[in-house]
Amino acid sequence: MRDAILLEKLKRGDPKGLELLMHAYLPYVSVIVWNILRGSMAPEDAEEVVSDVFLAAWNQAADLECGHIKSWLGAVARNKAKNKLRQRGRSLPLEEDLLDLPGLSDPITRLEQAEEQELVRRAVDALPEDEREIFLRHYYYTQPVKEISLTMSLNESTVKSKLRRGRMKLKEALMKGGALE
């Protein structure tokens, strides 16, 4: 109900809609951006990026759909923060971020990219709930292993082990999907 109200105001160009959007999602967006930029940039830089996310929501209100606002904001926040990091020549603070996919090539055409995105989506959605959450907290939200272990009341070795399983399943899905081409 809250999202429906703020979306209606946002789409009408009512600044109150943006106020409501920020009230509801500013903490969420701030955590995503800070997880990516901390250790590489000052808080003021991160604040600019968070502001850019809500500016994007204001300018692209027509693209927002009820029930998908949070996921839209999350995706935009990640992308803007990662772009900012790349501009400064820094890399993400992630463990074992690289997947080795021998025999596969980078998807070039839009169709290949769409197919790869679908494979990734299915592989992640197929993970057991706790593994998926750990996988997304680390690789999607860039949350450090230590923080994940504290948040989910698990020890770090368990978190690392589940991350490893998630990586293996994602690799398997991509290799299998690539082999069918």
């Binding site: 500013l26 995503i32 800070w34 968070v50 999350g74 995706a75 997947l99």
Partner: protein, 405 residues
Amino acid sequence: MKRSISDLLDHYREDRVDLKGDTPLSPVRIKELTMKHICEETGGNRPQAARQRKRFFSRGLLVAALLLSLCCLTAFAVVFTLRDAARADMGVSQDDPIREWTEYDNPLQTGTETAPQATLVATMCSGSRLYAYVAVSPVPEEAAAGTSPEWEWGPRGGLDGCTALHLEQAGYDPDTRTSLVKVSMTLEDKSLEQVEVSMNLCHDLKPIAAYGPVTVPVTESQALTCPADITVVNTTRQLKEAWGLRPDMPAFSQYTQEGTIDQISICAGYIELEMTTPTLEEWTAVSGAEVLLELEEQSDTPLPPQLEGYLVRRMFGGSWSVSVEETLADARLNYRDGTSELIRQIPSPYAGTWLSAEEPYPDASEDGIRRYRFTPLQAFDLSQVESITMAGKTYPFPQPDDLSP
């Protein structure tokens, strides 16, 4: 080939993880930055219908002026920028403010923890609605950030002749820790010349700071009125819709009744309709709603005498409200510049468009006399309003100049 897992997830959409955490980022600065960028990029709004463009353009520019001028601070400068924020909130033009808007040149005293201060900045008085913008300090930044529902403003003490409907923050100056609080009131005693307002800042429902009292003058206002003849139909369908999702809806009778909207008024603060309907007794007789009295008797909780029949009265009022909303779904306000607005699309602080307004006397609705009101978020400029279109017919308003005393 090596691929980054993080990059592979760039097109993944997720919203299930309950992501929380502390950051050193300032919500207040982020909001200021965002509003500043919006004003710089678009002048305060995206392309809209002409009237809405005018309404939000003013607000955007004034917000930008507020943000940019927050860099230089004197007591008067702070009041001036808060005055800009008040104008922006009410949609009042800086160059040509509406007659119902009054600004006060009171010097701002910066408060301390032991001597908090409250200063009247501006008021908008229209009919029975009175809005007061009050600068209060000191207010902690975390309370002013607006990111936590734990902080809220509330009235302190009663208001003689007046109801404090709502208090909310309309602006904040972090350097002097001064909040602009908007107090929205309904005047029950129309002969009042002023109101004393005091307020609390509450955290987790507990008052932690008190401000005021501030004397708020009640100033002159005007309304434009025209007769109307709009038929409103009320049937079993509207009654069932008013019943809503309550369980065990009784079997009402099939009926049709008609009411008439006789008069339309507009002032800066709202549009008001006067309507006549069949009486409660007449409506109950045809709708079969007396069955609701049996439901009340079956309730486990005994009702005090003054509440007996409340469900019948509630359904009576609710069904006519549904009828009015349906009849006026396409109602438009027409302006002298040739533009018009759908009234249901004008921003309002309330859910729903036409809400029941104060009765001319107690229980007037039972006698078939009803009032409905639409309240906009920002003031109407009566000099720009030409007519109103309802149920396919246009009713011109008299010119404001015709009503000079």
